[in-house]
Symmetry: D2
Subunit: 360 residues, 4 copies
């Protein structure tokens, strides 16, 4: 590890750096004319390997200006040279390693007959997972908050009737068990990305987690959130870029396609795009969905409603079944460009993919 | 209420608007040459008064382009003509109605002797509440996460020893009871602002809530979060502006002084500023604290550490005791400008203030 | 036109609205219970047609809260029902109407031999226009500012030697004539988007203008800038989205693919993307270029340098010739997806396209 | 200077670094185990002193990852230890060194009688400079563009009649001479901050320049713009923070009070705040003006209109004469807090201040 010290470091600050280094098994080599650079060499008799939290310990010290090189210490999300991409599987869906899956459905679960209709319709048009919220985070306490447990039960019935896996959001750490029991993929919404109590619970479950980026979160914070789940022992994470807040109001958010491409290069985790929340208007969902896929996304998550004008929430951004069909067709053509595959529910079971946490 | 319909509304969308109006007790008057404006008149035989959630029901409809005038329906946070500002009291502190209180202390509770030292020192220099996190939201799972229950116990001991109230953060809805038992004011951090499960729990407790604005949240979303607590029955909320995310890196965040001034005009709730998280660097904390106060803030929340270079978190932004003393002096001078008062721990008990939810 | 008045309008403010209406040939119809909506009806004896500036006259009045419907008044950039998209042609390039052209070259013109080499190389790999700055806007006065007139002369020689048109930037209204004499397309950079004196000069020339969106500009401001050129009489504008400022530093800017899709729907003008300035790092240029094209862009503008490590400016974001070749191949595949065409220098001359300003 | 090289630097990239070092008079010392740090030592026989542009030359090289320490090379705007703050004087106004001046007036110059009325009124209430635009940058070509030369003539007459200096904006480098002839301070608006051709012209004039920060510009870019004027030979610059673009719409912009405090510490130049453009609504101008002053601003620039509802532009943000009087009173009280002075037109002529460029 290479540290840069503050220009005018106080003696107490310098001692703190050296004491931290000693306690973690490092020796200090001072570089530069002003000795303001510190190369930390790991002592051969140091206990255990270098760990990501070591860097954080130095970053927190007042005398340290920057950590220039974290050396051999990698976070669990980090792509390693020669490493394989992680493929996350859930019900019939597969994300990563060249496999693209489409997730579609209404914003919120509203009634069972309607949900059944949507589920069959999107499954027939290329979706491999059904989305639908039983718990809805809404800016106003007076907005529709979702049906809760009753919504979960509807998802369960429809899941069995149609044979499609379901993705649904959990807001409260106390609901993780109940949601994970029904869901094939448990979703963390953008507003909950930094709900670390929730993420810690999700590190313990045996279901994949679809983690949405907060609309005000940096990519580094997004990956820190993923690390909470990974370090808890759950290696099956799908990252989801859904747009960040911008200064213009023509779209609800700005789909950060650069972040998608960056994440595909920097991590081994699958990444999908949510063009519906990014656009916030149905007429742009197709363009943003296409853009996410060509930037490298391993899937899309789209709000689809058979009668968008009757939806209880997010009506403006839901697309019709016909529009979803067009987008699915686009997805197939885009997958072909790069020799990737769109996963279909009718595909035969895939060869086993590994999704265990690789040892560091 | 006055709605503007979409330019090219589908018949099904129009029916949905009319059905919603009927079910909520309204009659529709169509205005404009193209009949694109709908004035909703409340039927005299309608059940119950107009409620905030009615507007949300229309806002969710696909046929509705905008709600131009919500009429007589107000949220609980809303300032009303001739209404009194809410004064929130906790231990010896008072926020609002001309009373300014200073909250100071370390970022995190680290050890008891040190906490006792800080508490006495800030109390002696003008603070009326001690801040200090037992539960810390950190971007990395490998960063110091706070001492948890042990930290709460330290806060309790120090609170009793020094005679100063404490503000501490809760992250997990399951910890609300334990935190509220110790804390005089329960804090919701910026990353938890949209954790609605947590906010609902806080609506039920009998302790004031210090609600921080999310760094990516609009003022409207901030007030929506406050409304979750208010509508749950807890009227004692202190809003806290702590900076929003910007594109420049000279400061950690942008202190939104315009939001402070706006909130003071638009709501009856007290508003404070957190210059420490806004600046992210100790040399600018004083300037931002002053700016928050002259913009109308009813208090400040500041990170103070007797030896900033040894802090486990947020070392760069903690100010020294000497710097806090200077800021407290500034606060007194600024309070004088407008005939406001800085509350001191040694003040005699104030005349009773009301902080019940006013009936709408 | 439909205006919404301020809630508590002063008599003087109301008179000002009525006087403005009269002077522009309108009669006022007041709507709503509080008469806060004003429908403006054009008098049959009014002089001349409604014009875009009429709305602006009302928008500037203190009594007017919003202009809800501008009626028949359209800006020149506006797409009209049944209207044809504008195709902008320059040298062998064509933008719009299904034609996609690639613009490539170095950030700055540095020396003639090198420029000749790049020009031949990019032309051979699919570029139809050569980019290269003779005048460079740099944040520091001590950075390389471009070769100026000497750079223009190099562009002229290389243009003739290679047979490829050139795009080059103008910064100063006093240079418009000199730049327009050499350039096939005159570029307005992001920092100059709101340099209205410059835009007015460009409204008078007989060369296409490539107008980049300011990194802090809304789409509405971007279109306002285009309107300056259009209303000056020059209808040949190519809009260029090059990323807006965001809060994260993983990329230099955020490519606003939603804006590309929106502009393609809302205007009749061609739109291209500049993935180089958006990414600010060469490894993401391909992904962003692809994303821009599938979102609807009629072309790409890319920084290419045969030896990126030796470039005097923007070295991090220039891609190699090999990378450009890959991107051009992607572009052809993406064009095929939608039945669009990549224009090649070797294409036979196209059937005449019209690019006159259509009458409103 | 200390450079950090790219992790995997190509041989050609390394050669380019070494060649650049040699050509600028440096020797290279490689540090670190991987030799990835380069300490540049200035050769004693090197020609001339180190200059700011040297760092930029390295920053532009592809092999250089970061410049960690620019050593002794300072930009002209930079505050030096023990250096005096620059005081900029114009007509009766003085900015900096403890002197605070208020600039007030209408957005645009509209008619002479009205301007005379405003000028006298604001002068009587504490303004030492009159603001008013003869050339107005407007987002739409159909909005009022200012009266141009006729507006300048009005400013000249009113200036003489009232005895107050004037600040007015220049948009076009061709107008610099004409504007500088009339104006006591020449203003560069936010949209022109990066109009380097204009800034270069302003480096040559003998009038102070009021430089507004672009609403999408970093502080570093803002200072780069100032450096254009300073390096051209004009040392009389007043920096003006007027708000940056944010994601919320409650205010037009976010007043960056942290930037004001940072600039006061990092530069020797005076800094003022423009609360009118930051707020975009008259009711918040006072709060933002106060906030700017306590954060360290050496003055305010405020839009004042005797009849805001009749203004042709920016009506929403202009404050009345009564409101300006209150703000001026606040300014006096805030100046007192820190032992600073509000400059009045009736003050006796100050002792001579120096405003020459100090030698580096």
């Amino acid at each position: 590890m290479l540290l840069r010290l503050k220009r005018q470091i106080a003696p107490a600050e310098l001692s703190a750096v050296e004491a931290t280094a000693r306690s973690l098994g490092y020796e200090c080599e001072y570089l530069g004319q002003k000795q303001e650079l510190v190369q930390l060499h790991r002592r051969t008799d140091a206990e255990g390997p270098e760990r990501p939290e070591f860097a954080a310990r130095f970053a927190d010290l007042a005398g340290v200006d920057a950590i220039l090189d974290r050396g051999a210490v990698h976070d669990l999300w980090s792509a390693r040279d020669g490493g394989q991409p992680t493929v996350v599987e859930a019900a019939g869906a597969r994300f990563g390693g060249g496999d693209i899956s489409l997730v579609a459905g209404p914003c919120a679960v509203e009634d069972e007959a309607r949900l059944l209709e949507v589920a069959s319709a999107v499954a027939a048009r290329g979706a491999t997972l059904l989305r639908g919220g039983a718990y809805k985070p809404r800016s106003s306490p007076y907005s529709f908050q979702g049906l809760g447990r009753a919504g979960l039960e509807m998802l369960r019935s429809v899941r069995e009737a149609v044979g499609i896996g379901v993705v649904t959001e959990v807001l409260d750490p106390r609901d993780v068990e109940a949601v994970a029991e029904v869901a094939d993929v448990v979703q963390v919404g953008a507003r909950s990305m930094a709900s670390y109590a929730l993420l810690k619970e999700l590190g313990k479950i045996d279901k994949p987690v679809l983690l949405k980026r907060g609309f005000g979160a940096t990519v580094s914070e997004f990956l820190g959130a993923a690390e909470y789940v990974l370090s808890g022992g759950n290696g099956r994470i799908v990252l989801c870029e859904r747009g960040v807040r911008g200064f213009d109001s023509i779209t609800r958010n700005l789909l950060d396609v650069g972040a998608i491409a960056h994440l595909k290069a920097a991590t081994h985790l699958p990444v999908i795009a949510d063009p519906s929340h990014a656009a916030g208007r149905s007429d742009l969902v197709r363009a943003l969905g296409r853009a996410g896929l060509v930037a490298g996304a391993d899937g899309l998550m789209v709000e689809v409603h058979p009668a968008p004008e009757e939806a209880h929430s997010d009506a403006q951004q839901a697309i019709s079944l016909r529009a979803f069909e067009a987008l699915a067709q686009d997805a197939r053509a885009i997958a072909d460009l790069d020799g990737r595959r769109i996963v279909n529910l009718s595909d035969p079971a895939p060869p086993e993919h590994t999704h265990e946490l690789s040892p560091r």
